[in-house]
């Protein structure tokens, strides 16, 4: 599996990463060398093997439905880049 320039552009867009024209060849090359490393696993047969998502065979714990969080807007917004009237500001959202 080998990526070309348009694959790299598509992936960068999905990941919302701006990518500068001169960087594309370098990204393409390094991603391809990583993918060829990764592709070594394709030779190993894994039919019928249950995928392992979590190392421990544990199950989800449940939280009781009790309010534990008080309003902390001021401290939580202290590091926000743009806030007005308690709202986070972003460039216009078009529906």
């Amino acid at each position: 599996m080998s990526l070309d320039r348009s694959d790299v552009e598509r992936i960068a867009h999905l990941a919302r990463l701006a990518i500068h024209e001169p960087e594309i060849p370098e990204y393409t090359e390094s991603l391809n060398s990583i993918l060829s490393l990764i592709d070594q696993m394709q030779a190993t047969p894994t039919d019928g093997i249950e995928p392992l998502a979590h190392p421990l065979d544990a199950v989800q714990r449940l939280r009781s439905d009790v309010v534990t969080e008080a309003n902390q807007r001021d401290s939580l917004q202290a590091c926000a880049p743009a806030v007005e009237d308690g709202l986070f500001l972003v460039p216009k959202v078009i529906e």
Binding site: L14, R73, L87, E95
Partner: protein, 483 residues
């Protein structure tokens, strides 16, 4: 050409938990922006989700109510996309292993028949925040209070064949979730929102046509109108030689039209994968059975019981059973009055009209079940007439108190004294000579109909307080004496 409409619904139901699905922040509606968005809801670096047991219980209740298989193992997955109301950059949802498997509900159609709508599955997920579009120097404001509110998304099969059926299905889901008490059912506040997948095909054709998705409709009336509008648009399009494009559309109720949401059109690749911050949710039969034992009577069962136990019509029974609070209210009134038909009439008539006008739900009714029963009892024992009853109801609504206190204070007691009634009749006969003459001149078998006029006059004279039965008997007797 004759077209067949094919509709499937995805209904998002906000669960009535105290806290978010993955955090301990409150879900109460209407708080100041971002005051109910904690570190987890804001996706602060390092924060992690912990699953709310009540959301699980409520989803299972729904599954049991639609006779579905409950997922003994369910898995949360991440749906990855960027949007400012989605703080983590992914929505935690379920895909391959949802909590509720295939089930079904039956809807009643206007012609009295019923149709089964299959439910493909229902899954748990988190709600997003809200973008506010008031102008902040050309920016939008983001409020994340709603982010993380638990949702059950109910995905139907494309089993509905008209806008009316779709609305009936949505009403049935509403009835079920409110009866279960897992949703407050407040559609204006977005507690239940509907996406409608609509397509058309030539009648008799097996293959489905290309569908469009109408997003985020939040009233039954709009579901019906939006689908009708979209169906008409699709038919026009195809009959004009065009073709339907698979896309997301928005219904604009002001213009009664649907329009393409181009901003959502970008081909998305959501890169679903199991959420590594959450583990598989495993439940056993005992857990499910405990929940099953606590299920309230469901709308279909209650509707049938209303028909059997109270001899109500299908229609009245269906309306009363469609919402738990309303059905409870009805049964409380009936217990006190012992007259199901009369109680049903008052609830679906006068009370419903007032609630509608005030845009209130029955649980917020200013006239309680006891108050209404008190009023009905006074009609039953002939203390007041039905007509006066309506006045008393309005006073109960506006001023409170009891029917008895109002009847007493306003002197609305029915007049049963035959002397007083006779005096009133005599006065009417004396004042209405021309009508009396007509009555006398009429054929005896036509006279019955003419009696209504004199009835009205007597009731007017007695301010509606005269016992109508007594008035009728005495009137007929006196007039016939003149003939």
């Amino acid at each position: 050409m004759e077209w067949e409409v094919v509709i499937g619904l995805e209904i998002h139901v906000q669960l009535a938990t105290q806290t978010k699905i993955f955090s301990g922040a409150s879900t109460a509606f209407g708080a100041e922006p971002n005051t109910q968005a904690c570190a987890v809801d804001l996706a602060l670096p390092g924060t992690l989700p912990v699953f709310n047991e009540n959301a699980l219980r409520m989803a299972i209740m729904f599954g049991l109510a639609i006779d579905a298989e409950i997922g003994k193992r369910s898995v949360f997955e991440r749906k990855n996309y960027f949007y400012p109301d989605l703080p983590k950059g992914y929505q935690t949802t379920q895909l391959a292993e949802p909590i509720v498997g295939t089930g079904h509900v039956d809807i009643q159609l206007e012609d009295g028949s019923s149709r089964r709508v299959r439910i493909h599955h229902a899954h748990l997920e988190e709600d997003a925040g809200k973008s506010l579009h008031e102008d902040f120097h050309g920016m939008s404001g983001i409020d994340l209070n709603r982010a993380g509110t638990p949702l059950v998304e109910i995905v139907s099969e494309p089993d509905m064949r008209s806008a009316k059926e779709a609305a009936a299905y949505a009403r049935k889901i509403h009835a079920i979730v409110t009866t279960l008490g897992i949703c407050d059912g407040n559609m204006a506040e977005g507690s239940m929102r509907c996406d409608c997948n609509v397509s058309i095909r030539p009648k008799g054709q097996e293959a489905l046509g290309t569908r469009t998705e109408l997003k985020n409709i939040n009233s039954f009336r709009f579901i019906e109108r939006a689908i009708e509008t979209e169906v008409a648009r699709q038919i026009d399009l195809i009959e004009d030689g065009g073709r339907v494009v698979q896309e997301t559309r928005l219904y604009d109720p002001d213009r009664n039209e649907t329009r393409s949401m181009r901003s959502k059109e970008e081909a998305n690749d959501y890169r679903y994968f199991p959420c590594p911050d959450l583990l598989p949710v495993i439940i056993d039969d005992a857990y499910i059975e405990t929940i099953r034992e606590q299920l309230p009577e469901l709308p279909d069962a209650r509707r049938q019981r209303f028909i059997d136990q109270y001899s109500l019509s299908d229609y009245d029974a269906g309306v009363l059973a469609s919402e738990r609070a309303q059905a409870d209210y009805f049964e409380e009134v009936v217990t006190l009055t012992g007259d199901a038909k009369l109680s049903a009439n008052w609830i679906t008539g006068e009370l419903a009209r007032f609630l509608n006008q005030a845009d209130l739900s029955i649980s917020a009714s200013p006239v309680s079940a006891q108050q209404l029963a008190g009023l009905i009892q006074r009609i039953q024992d002939d203390t007041i007439t039905g007509k006066i009853g309506k006045n008393v109801f309005e006073l109960l609504w506006n001023e409170g108190g009891t029917a008895d206190s109002i009847i007493e204070a306003k002197g609305l007691k029915q007049v049963n004294d035959s002397g007083a009634i006779e005096a009133a009749i005599d006065q009417v006969i004396a004042q209405c000579t021309p009508q009396v003459d007509q009555y006398i001149a009429a054929e005896p078998d036509k006279r019955g109909k003419m009696l209504g006029f004199f009835m009205g006059q007597v009731m007017k004279l007695t301010q509606g307080k005269a016992n109508p039965g007594q008035v009728q008997g005495l009137l007929k007797q006196k007039l016939d004496q003149l003939c």
